[in-house]
Amino acid sequence: MSLLLPLAPTWSLAAAVSPADTAWMLVATALVLLMTPALAFFYGGLVRAKNVLNTMMMSVAAMAAVGIAWALVGYSLAFAPGGALVGGLDHLFLRGVGLDAKGTLPHLLFMAYQATFAIITAALISGAVVERIRFGPYLAFITAWSVVVYAPVAHWVWGGGWLAKLGALDFAGGTVVHVNAAAAALVAALIVGPRRDYGRQAQLPHNIPFVVLGAGLLWFGWFGFNAGSALAANGIAALAFTNTLLAPATTLLVWMLLDQLRSKRTTAVGAATGVVVGLVAITPAAGYIGPLSALLLGGFAALPSYAAILLRSRSALDDSLDVVAAHGIGGTTGALLTGVLAQAVWGGTDGALFGAPRQLLWQAIGVAAAALYSAGASFALLKLIGKLVPLRPAARVEGMGLDLQEHGEEAYTTGEGAILVIPEEALPERAPAGLPLPAPAEGAF
C-alpha cells in the first residue's frame, strides 16, 4: 500500500480531454498493439517449422517485458520533461500519469500509445537473430535496449530533445522506430553470428500464408501507427491514413515488377516484404507530404530495399529476415524523402523540393545519430550480456530447432508416440482426485 498510495492521483477530469480524439486514440493504440502479434506471424512464417514458436515468442514476450519496462522507466526517460538527450525521472513508475489531459488525450492513454511503439520496435530486432539466439539473453537484451536506446531516441525526436529542436521531421517513427531497430538488428546479427547452416543449406519459409497474414495485419495496425501519430481525429490523421494506404500500394506494385523482371515470378514473400517496406518508408513522412508525393515515395522506396535484400543474401551477413534491408534502408529512404517531399501546406514544413534543401540535412543527421547511438549501445549491451551468459545454444540444439530446447514444444504435433509422464511427486492436498485415474464414466453425476 505504501507503494501505491504516494501515486494516488489528484486530478479531476480535465476539460481539455477531447472525446473524439480519445475515441480515435483508444483504437489507434489497440491497432499498434496488434502489430506485435502480426509481426510474430510475419516473422514466424518465414522461419523453419522447428523454430516458429521461438520466433513468435520473441515478439510475444516483448509485450510483457518491454511493456512493463516502458511503464516503469522508459516512458519517463522519453517523455518526462528533461534535457536534450534524455527525459527526466518525473514519470518514473507512472508518477503523475493519470487521467488529466496530455494534449487532448488522457495522459495514461498517451503513455499506453507510446508503450505499443516501444514494444513493436524492440520486437522488430528479433528478425535479425532468429533460429539461433537463446531466449533469455534475447529478452534481456531487448528489454534493456528499450530503456537504454529506444527511450532516449524517442525523447530526441518526440520528447522535445535535440532532434526536435534541430527540426528533423519524423512523423511516426521512421528514424525512432525503424532505423533505430535496424541498427540494433545489424549489430545483433554480427555479434551473434550467422546460423550454423547459413549459406550452406537453403533455409526456406515454412508457412507463407502466415507471412501474408502477418503483413495484412501489420498494414491494418499501421493505420493506428501512422494516423494515430496525429494524436487526434483530424485532417492530419486523415492525411497520414491516406498516405499509409497509398504508399505501400506503389511499393507493392514496384516490388512485384522488380520480382517479375528478375525472376519472371511475382513472389508472395516478396509482396509481403514490399508492403512492409512501403509502410516503413511512409512512416516518417505520413503527416507531412501530400498523397501524390506518397505514391512517389512508396514506389521509389522499393528500389534500395530490394537491392539490399539481393546483396544481403549473397553476403556473409545473416540478417535472417532482412531487418536492415526492410527497416533500416526503408526507414532511411523514407526519412530522407521526407526531407525532400514535405510541404508546409500539408502540415509539415517545406522539404528540399519545396525550397528548403537544408531539411534534407536535418533528416540525414537524425538518421545517422539514431543509427550510430543504437549500434553503439546495442554492441555494448550484447557484449555485456554475452559475458554473463552464452548468447547461442549448442550446435545440436540449433540443429534440432529452438522450439524444443527453449520452449519444450513443437508447433505442429500429432501426438503420435507421445507418452504421458505421470508425475512422481504426490499431490497430497488433492489426493482423492489424483492419479491413478479412476477412468470416470460418462455422466459421472
Binding site: L204, T267, V269, R314
Partner: protein, 118 residues
C-alpha cells in the same frame, strides 16, 4: 505373395486407384513421398535466395498381392500411371514371406482379399 511398391505422380493417383479397382485390386496402402530422378529441376526464389528443388512430390503405393495377381497389377499400374514424360516413376516387385490380416489372423492369400462392408 509379393509386395508391389509403385512410385507414381500424385496427380495420377486418381486414375491409378480407378485402374486398380477395376483390376479387382482393392487392398493397398499409400504414402506421400518425394522423388529424385531424371525430372527437370524446379527453381524457386525466396527473397534474395534462389534454390533448386531436387525432389519432386510423388506417391508411393504398397500393394500386397498373391502371385497370380502380380502381372495384372503391374499392368494396371503401368497403364494408368503413365504420361510419357520423364518422372512417371517405378514399380518394384518384392518377395514376401508371409502376410497376416490383423483382424482375423488369416495368412497369405486369405489376408489380402478384402471384405467389403461399405
Amino acid at each position: 505373395m509379393k509386395l508391389i511398391v509403385a512410385i507414381i505422380r500424385p496427380e495420377k493417383l486418381h486414375d491409378v486407384l480407378e485402374a486398380l479397382f477395376r483390376a479387382e485390386v482393392r487392398g493397398l496402402t499409400i504414402t506421400r513421398a518425394q522423388g529424385h530422378g531424371g525430372e527437370m529441376e524446379r527453381v524457386e526464389t525466396y527473397r534474395g535466395t534462389t534454390v533448386k528443388m531436387e525432389l519432386v512430390d510423388k506417391v508411393r503405393l504398397d500393394i500386397g498381392v498373391s502371385d497370380p495377381f502380380v502381372d495384372v497389377t503391374v499392368a494396371a499400374l503401368q497403364r494408368s500411371a503413365r504420361t510419357g514424360d520423364v518422372g512417371d516413376g517405378k514399380i518394384f516387385v518384392l518377395p514376401v514371406e508371409k502376410v497376416i490380416r490383423i483382424r482375423t489372423g488369416e495368412e497369405d492369400v486369405g489376408a489380402v482379399t478384402p471384405v467389403t462392408t461399405g
